[in-house]
Symmetry: C2
Subunit: 204 residues, 2 copies
């Protein structure tokens, strides 16, 4: 499938990772670049769009992210499951993983991060928000999303659309040890019979 | 399906939320209890098992969690998609949502948190790690998992097992506005042809 990426409005960017996909974290600094897999990320705010992602302090990615103050988040589809697992298990300190695996990177529009489109459902370009304590104690890096785009065949007008036609772009979710589940089979919640308390929405 | 919960070893607890499921956050303090839905959570450490979850500072749940220093994380299966969406959209300040929806709660073994087994794949009982800045700036609550259990039909011996036989227990992942995707369709990553750099695993 040839990517058909379109910009995603920033107010919809957090929706791209709302359902907990495993992602690729891309980075670049001082003429070096890298890509690693990360199962541990989540949105923390819709507006402005902010996310948190766990990047181990011993990784080359962390070194590049701190140096540049930026990183990319790419959402691999099912077609990239082998690549995702491979880049999660090897270091980019001694080798350029993009070159090794023939990964084509496009340049992020705001921060120049390397971003992957072929085989991915979406990407987010992120500016690191320095939080030394959270980074040190929990390897948790907070960031603001400054640009985002998605393949229009699976995300458009601010909404995901999972169907049989876009199985290759459907997100993957790591269970551990190279086993992933695919997100699919859309379920639509129906209102329960119990009366709703009026005016209390959003105050759970 | 009648729950068949068995304890999960603490070193395997983070695996329960590794793939980004939407969860139910349960809480109790001062004779009150509550349950809300949360799409935004992630592990931050395997050993000791630690997680982060976003709990808005305006919610009743946050009030109870701060008061007790504890909460539960329950993983609803597909059978609970309507309930999950319902408890995410109503406040527990004026009404006991367990009673309203006929939710049966069991008591957590370490901290006494209300935990849900019927319709859920697993639960984790968590002790809040006070991090006032992260809680204030990002509504992000860090916690250590002190007990965990899972329905043995979908998670046993430290591993998930998704199959046609346990579809009702398969985790759900919120896309937004009541649309969820089900985790299913297991994919097994295969080694890529590119040579692996020896000894570099875990240093991405």
């Amino acid at each position: 499938m040839t990517p058909r990426f379109r910009p995603v409005a920033l107010e919809h960017a957090s929706r791209l990772v709302n359902h907990g996909p495993t992602v690729l974290v891309t980075s670049a600094a001082g003429g070096r670049r890298n890509v690693m897999a990360a199962a541990w990320s989540m949105p923390v705010e819709f507006t402005p769009p902010r996310i948190a992602v766990v990047i181990d302090k011993h990784t080359f990615t962390r070194e590049l992210v701190v140096a540049s103050g930026a990183f990319g988040i790419c959402l691999p589809g099912t077609a990239l499951v082998d690549l995702t697992y491979a880049v999660g298990g090897e270091s980019g300190r001694a080798v350029d993983k993009f070159a090794r695996h023939g990964i084509v990177a496009t340049q992020g529009p705001v921060l120049g991060m390397p971003l992957i489109e072929a085989g991915c459902a979406a990407w987010l370009e992120c500016r690191l928000i320095r939080e030394p304590h959270a980074e040190d104690a929990y390897d948790t890096c907070f960031a603001e999303v400054v640009a985002a785009a998605a393949d229009e065949r699976i995300f458009s007008n601010g909404h995901w659309s999972f169907s049989d036609d876009n199985a290759e772009l459907q997100t993957i979710h790591h269970l551990g040890a190279g086993h992933f589940v695919r997100a699919g089979g859309v379920l639509r919640a129906k209102p329960l019979q119990a009366p709703r308390a009026r005016g209390t929405e959003g105050a759970s």
